[in-house]
């Protein structure tokens, strides 16, 4: 398959641009976009479909709900995931409910594009990994791309989907380059990707943590341990079948998630495997998550809280019985 190399963020933009070219009903609005007449989106698609909004998240997301009900497919640029919290009602109690409460009379196809996890000194309020807050919400879909190719394919799928989709892109991946398939590229929502095959242990890693997990897997392979690494890509709806099938094969599971432990998708995955795959397990499931604290400003403290390659490798050794289980 022919590919082209793009940074993660450019892959997202490519998807939005191509979908806007394909479908006149796709809109793109939000804060601090298209403020100048030379903005490429504004030039290509015009001021009806591309608009800067005031800094008013409730109105931005509420208006996205309204335009979607009225037949359009808005993509809202929210910049930072935390800004969504200002407008939480529209995200978790409006956008996701209208289809259901009207018995399917209306559809609410919209994409909320928000960056997260900016753990490079942005301190307490702009670094959260908060997709876990949205994953238990009926009617919402939540995607968390880890690569440039998935960033494009998931954005394309999110725009085409008839439901509200929270699209969380990781700020630390913004400039990570990757090969993106040429032509139309759609990654179906709700399907996990087995990124690396292995028979000894399953590592499920979400978003930015995928890179940590793959690095740990290489390190483990040097010691003769073959890890299977799975990227859920969509955390709602969650592809539990792929995870359970892998655990049935390996009997061991480590879940890596940058979220704080009790707000993590890792905890949900562990619960699903305990519920439906307990018989396959040869060892307790191990979670590698952020510690339950606000992200601090100072670099060593910030790093202390977060999952890293060594923590993933340690967890794998623990589920393999090669290291003492931490108290």
């Amino acid at each position: 398959m022919a590919t082209h190399e793009l940074p993660y963020i450019a892959a997202i933009e490519e998807a939005i641009r191509e979908e806007m070219e394909r479908d006149d009903s796709v809109l793109y609005f939000g804060q601090n976009i298209a403020t100048h007449e030379n903005d490429p989106f504004l030039k290509q698609f015009g001021g009806d479909r591309v608009r800067v909004t005031p800094i008013s998240e409730t109105a931005e997301i509420g208006m996205a709900v309204g335009t979607a009900i009225a037949g359009f497919r808005p993509v809202v640029e929210l910049y930072m995931a935390e800004f969504m919290l200002v407008a939480m009602d529209q995200v978790v109690n409006e956008a996701n409910r209208f289809h259901y409460m009207s018995k399917g009379q209306v559809k609410v196809p919209l994409v909320l594009k928000a960056g997260y996890g900016f753990t490079c000194g942005w301190a307490g309020q702009h670094t959260g990994t908060i997709y876990g807050m949205f994953t238990g919400v009926p009617g919402l879909k939540v995607v968390v791309p880890a690569t440039a190719a998935d960033a494009k394919g998931l954005m394309t799928a999110a725009i085409r989907d008839d439901n509200p989709v929270c699209y969380f892109h990781h700020y630390l991946l913004t400039l990570e380059h990757g090969d993106v398939p040429d032509g139309e590229h759609v990654v179906p929502l709700g399907r996990a990707n087995v990124v690396r095959e292995g028979a000894d242990v399953t590592i499920v890693a979400i978003g930015w943590c995928l890179g940590k997990a793959l690095a740990a897997a290489e390190q483990l392979a040097a010691n003769g341990v073959e890890a299977e690494v799975i990227d859920p890509r969509t955390v709602a709806p969650l592809d539990t079948d792929t995870i359970l099938a892998s655990v049935a094969k390996t009997g061991r599971l480590v879940v890596v998630d940058q979220s704080t432990r009790h707000g993590s998708v890792a905890a949900v995955i562990a619960a699903e495997v305990a519920d439906a795959g307990f018989g396959s397990l040869k060892a307790p499931v191990k979670l590698v998550t952020a510690l339950d604290a606000t992200v601090p400003y100072s670099e060593p403290m910030e790093a202390y809280l977060l999952p890293d390659e060594a923590k993933v490798a340690d967890a794998v050794h623990q589920v393999l019985g090669n290291a003492p289980v931490a108290a």
């Binding site: 109105a59 009900i69 439901n163």
Partner: protein, 342 residues
């Protein structure tokens, strides 16, 4: 109450819809006594707001759209939704307009431009503003009405939306039904304009749009004000805030109680909380339905017999809606997991 610009047919239509809403709401209220347990949760009635609702909707063209609040029974009745389907919805039945998924607070009839309601105060305002943005892009001259109460104007959603609508000159009319109460809080206890003795319509000034206050008990006055605002919106002039002064003739809603406690409608908060029977009795004397009837009969638009016949027909129709609702089956329980995703 001048009736300028409205012919006999239109005035009769307005009176008929007001009477139908009133009869519907009377029967919803009576269901708590006649058929205990049939209506669950929380129900909010539009009695007292009929003139405001119908006068506003009379200003719309068939292609126009609206969003409203949890106090939503009146709009679809006037738009032509079969009240049988509305009553069945309020009774949680399979034949309901939303199949029992929505209930009293979430009536929706997209086929008639009624795009939905939010049960969370103020949150439907940006949604209506978004529908108006959609209308602007489509460029077919559609207008959106956004209905909400006075309480909603204390929400950020209201202020954010009016700012954008004015900035973008969106084709929308914000109809604030000011009934003086946010549940049991009086408007002057929570609104700076009201406390200063000013109409709430002055809020429009902060967003550089026209603001009008109108007697919401007079459907013709409401029609005049809203239709001028609708025409302004349709011609690209941008949004208007209309404050429509109404008085709800029932309490905010039925009592809030756990299962096992029979639900009922208490008396209005003016009496139960503030001990102000006079205020409530004055509101009853100004009841917009008999008031408009008297006007039409006095001016010879309708004979007393014709007005009685309209009221009688509305009564019979809504009794039929109750019968239909009671006879409609419940949806299959396992359907609860349908419609989660489109």
């Amino acid at each position: 109450m001048p009736t300028n610009g409205l012919d006999r047919e239109r005035l009769t239509w307005i009176f008929t819809q007001m009477q139908r809403i009133r009869e519907f709401e009377e029967r919803v209220k009576r269901t708590f006594e006649d058929h205990p347990g049939t209506i669950r949760g929380h129900t909010h009635l539009a009695d007292g707001a009929e003139a405001s609702i119908v006068g506003s909707l009379a200003a719309l063209e068939p292609d126009d759209q609206l969003l409203a609040t949890y106090r939503c029974h009146g709009y679809p009745i006037a738009l032509g939704t079969d009240p049988k389907l509305l009553m069945a919805e309020i009774y949680g039945r399979a034949d309901g307009i939303c199949g029992g998924y929505g209930g009293s607070m979430h009536l929706t009839d997209v086929s008639r431009g009624f795009l939905g309601t939010s049960g969370i105060v103020g949150q439907g305002i940006p949604q209506a503003t978004g529908a108006a943005y959609a209308a602007q892009i489509r460029g077919r001259g559609q207008v959106v009405l956004s209905f909400f109460g006075d309480g909603a104007s204390k929400q950020g959603a209201f202020h954010e939306s009016l700012n954008i609508a004015s900035l973008w000159k969106l084709p929308i009319v914000y109809v604030m039904e000011n009934n003086n109460y946010n549940v049991v809080t009086r408007v002057e206890q929570e609104d700076a304009n009201a406390a200063a003795g000013e109409p709430l319509a002055v809020k429009a000034k902060g967003y550089s749009m026209p603001g009008h206050t109108v007697d919401g008990g007079d459907p013709v006055a409401v029609y005049d004000t809203v239709s001028a605002a609708v025409e302004r919106a349709r011609s690209g002039g941008g949004p208007t805030l209309v404050e429509s002064l109404v008085y709800r003739l029932s309490a905010h809603g039925n009592i809030i109680a756990p299962p096992g406690v029979p639900l009922h409608y208490p008396e209005h908060e003016a009496i139960t909380v503030f001990g102000n029977k006079e205020e409530y009795e004055a509101a009853l004397r100004g009841d917009p339905v008999p008031r408009f009837r008297a006007k039409l009969v006095t001016e010879g638009v309708l004979s007393a017999e014709e007005a009685d016949a309209i009221a009688e027909a509305a009564r019979a129709e809504m009794e039929g809606a109750v019968k239909f609702g009671l006879a409609s089956p419940f949806p299959p329980a396992e359907d609860a997991v349908k419609y989660v995703y489109a």
